[in-house]
Symmetry: C2
């Protein structure tokens, strides 16, 4: 395709996207397709010859769009917000259009250095000290795998350079809680520790925060049995209820025993753009690594996960490769991001953050986050004031965990499996209707419903609307 053909098709595509985004509120929130329906709408065999852009746009419209769950819809309250602000989309378009290659500083100096600049901007904007150096990963999952490998290599004296984890004489242990995101257990397993060496530390029964004294006990017990505490993963805004582990107290224990402390703030990192929220990760300066996703609530489009460490020398010792074909005269003077993560080749992701910050401005982003926090407070009050409804966990950010408990035929509150069936029934009907989307989840062995506010387009009016919908559905 020539630049002129691209220009013509590109203009048509921009118009199509603008129209599409404008129309999202008129679409069902959850895709209404059945399993296999989208796949079957495509030819089984690959196209042999080229076809027109107009035909492609039609196919996009008719085959793909019906299969999209609209996470940008103002009535989307599922999982966590996954905003894809149009200002950051422009940065992504610029990145694609430039067609750069990041495999070394030399292969695109600007790609490396703009990433350094924006990671440092984000560090400042979240109140972190300049001991932290950042890079952009695809997701917090990948950042956590990296952190677990960094911890493993610290605890095993760089076993990767010799006989590996398999020759380490005593078990290495990782500590977290049952509230931690599923990617934490996955990272522990992928890094080779084994699930049996992941300890779920007791939590406070209401806040679901890790109990530091229980952590200290578990570490003492492992040490007494000759095991090596290697890593602690501290959740700041855990997925179920946005639980916040007490970072300062945990960091004190980690530092006492020289244990790698990884802070998973995938969700709550966005809140740290607000000075008034930073008490939620007080103590973070004493951690070893830290990840959060601007591609969630803040709204820089996927995939934009920030990963910060203090000890970049250790990071590079663990992740570096230096083949002859990637060496250049700039080596030693520049950052080689290939040595800061798993992939060699990287996209120019920094443009997404640069465009987002430049075009929206941090003032507006902060105002939106504060709007969402206020909406969550309002929603919490409504639920608490309503008969038969309960809020199940502290509302520390913008997610409210709720349950509706009606009375049975004997005038007793519904419990157990009957309550589960009721919950899954009403939330299922709402989700199927396409009017709104909420994530059912499990807390203390029972189904509940998460109302996660924070889509860019969600105003107080939409929050009122979903509350009315909930009340009408039970």
């Amino acid at each position: 395709m020539t630049p002129e053909e691209f220009r013509k098709a590109g203009h048509a595509l921009i118009d199509w996207i603008a129209d599409y985004r404008e129309d999202i509120p008129n679409q069902p929130v959850r895709a209404q397709v059945q399993p296999g329906e989208v796949r079957r709408s495509f030819p089984v065999e690959a196209p042999q010859t080229a076809d027109s852009f107009a035909k492609l746009l039609t196919d996009l419209e008719t085959r793909v769009v019906p299969g999209i769950t609209q996470v940008q819809h103002p009535m989307h309250y599922g999982w966590f917000p996954s905003n894809a602000s149009l200002s950051s989309v422009l940065g992504d378009i610029a990145s694609s259009g430039l067609g750069t290659l990041g495999i070394s500083w030399e292969s695109c100096p600007a790609l490396t250095e703009v990433e350094e600049v924006v990671c440092d901007w984000m560090r400042q904007l979240t109140g972190l000290s300049d001991q932290w150096k950042g890079t952009i990963h695809d997701t917090a999952s990948t950042a956590c795998v990296t952190a677990m490998i960094l911890a493993r290599e610290k605890a095993s004296d760089l076993s990767k350079n010799s006989t590996g984890l398999q020759a380490v004489a005593v078990p290495l242990v990782v500590y977290s809680t049952s509230q931690a995101h599923s990617s934490i257990a996955k990272a522990v397993q992928l890094a080779g520790f084994g699930q049996d060496n992941l300890r779920y530390i007791d939590e406070d029964p209401y806040t679901r925060a890790m109990l530091p004294e229980a952590l200290a006990d578990a570490i003492r017990n492992d040490l007494a049995h000759g095991r090596i505490p290697a890593a602690i993963v501290c959740s700041v805004g855990a997925t179920g209820t946005t639980a916040m582990d007490p970072v300062a107290e945990i960091a004190a224990i980690a530092n006492e025993h020289n244990i790698w402390l990884h802070v998973d703030a995938a969700m709550a990192g966005s809140a740290m753009l607000l000075p008034e929220a930073r008490h939620l990760w007080e103590g973070v300066e004493a951690a070893d690594s830290l990840a959060w996703n601007p591609h969630k609530w803040m709204g820089t489009i996927l995939d934009t996960a920030l990963f910060y460490v203090c000890d970049t020398a250790h990071l590079e010792r663990v992740m570096s490769t230096n083949p002859a074909y990637l060496q250049s005269s700039a080596d030693g003077e520049v950052t080689q991001y290939r040595d800061w993560g798993i992939p060699l080749g990287r996209r120019f992701r920094a443009l997404k953050l640069w465009f987002h910050l430049h075009l929206d401005g941090i003032d507006a982003i902060q105002a939106r986050l504060r709007r969402d926090l206020a909406n969550a407070q309002w929603f919490q009050k409504q639920v608490e004031a309503a008969q038969h409804w309960q809020v199940l966990a502290p509302v520390l950010l913008q997610t409210i965990c709720i349950v509706h408990i009606p009375q049975d035929a004997d005038g007793q509150p519904l419990t157990g499996e009957a309550l589960d069936a009721h919950t899954l029934d009403w939330v299922g009907r709402i989700n199927e209707s396409g009017q709104a989307f909420l994530s059912p989840s499990v807390l203390d062995g029972r189904w509940m419903v998460r109302v996660s506010i924070g889509v860019e387009g969600t105003t107080r009016e939409h929050v009122q609307k979903v509350w009315e919908l909930l009340q009408a559905s039970v």
Copy 2:
């Protein structure tokens, strides 16, 4: 940013990109900036308030563009081709514009099912049987880490579910050659095997292909010492010289001992779009996993790495997570790509391949690959016919490894460090000039130069021009 503001800025950006792409042949190939120059052109502090799109485009032009090494330049012969065809860029733009979230089938059924469709199209187009199921990873590096973890878990009976690699009684061993990409050793280390358990098997001194009898010997020796052969990584188009390990013979050995065989065809996978090239990976059907990068020679923009396995049940056992908040009624009927790799969240990458295939057509892509192979043959002939020039390895694809050996003052051919200095001098001058870019690399302990043909815009005329430039530079 509203859809209408996006529309306006988007049109300006499309025009900017079209102009930029048109102008690439007039730019220096290698960026002419010094370390830190791009970084210092940015403010130290993050922008507080929003600024205009016009200002941003100016900054992009003046601060970023000078820091880009132009891998889309027709005189770029460095590393491997990293084509970013404009048809696939449109797919990337559509992906960004849609703003979808891939964390489960339910979160975007189309994202999952179009990925299934295009991975199957690519399977057919490379002549693979339908035992292979594919997914899109960011890079072949990540695919290799995944493959090494799959191998580790197969050889250790899913040790991740219990006490981990650290409790496996006997060492697990991986086999490859010194020609394998740097990401292979990195993957072996990250997966916890340890560098001492990676065996570099002897290669043919000219073709640099793994010697199967040497592999069989090494395996026998490890077995005799009570070690467990866990994985073999077979390179199809290794980075230095595009060496091709004999897949069929290696697969026979792997299957005899039930060893996981991963085929790294990151570069040569594109060639498999040509039926006449498929003899180069004959035997691939007997492998366990396979990765290649459409984002290289084929030209679907980064990040588009295909990863195929046969045993998806094993893949899912190793990589799966199933937290309550991601469960839905479609579970069991649909593919959950989060269980096929490391990250949970994924972009709608399949659109890049769909747009590329639809808008360019496989006929035109094949014609371009054949053009490049013919150009490489032509270039090889020129070098072989010229005095003092040598071709150092078989030209199996589109990369030619060359050296220029002048005579010293005594009429003897230059050798050793003097030859290295000469090589690095002439290639350094070319690269610094910005007229062309070539990758110096090391072969048998001596510097040589790789001429890797295959940029979308590189015609015979450009190849003639670089050959003239080379001759004039020595």
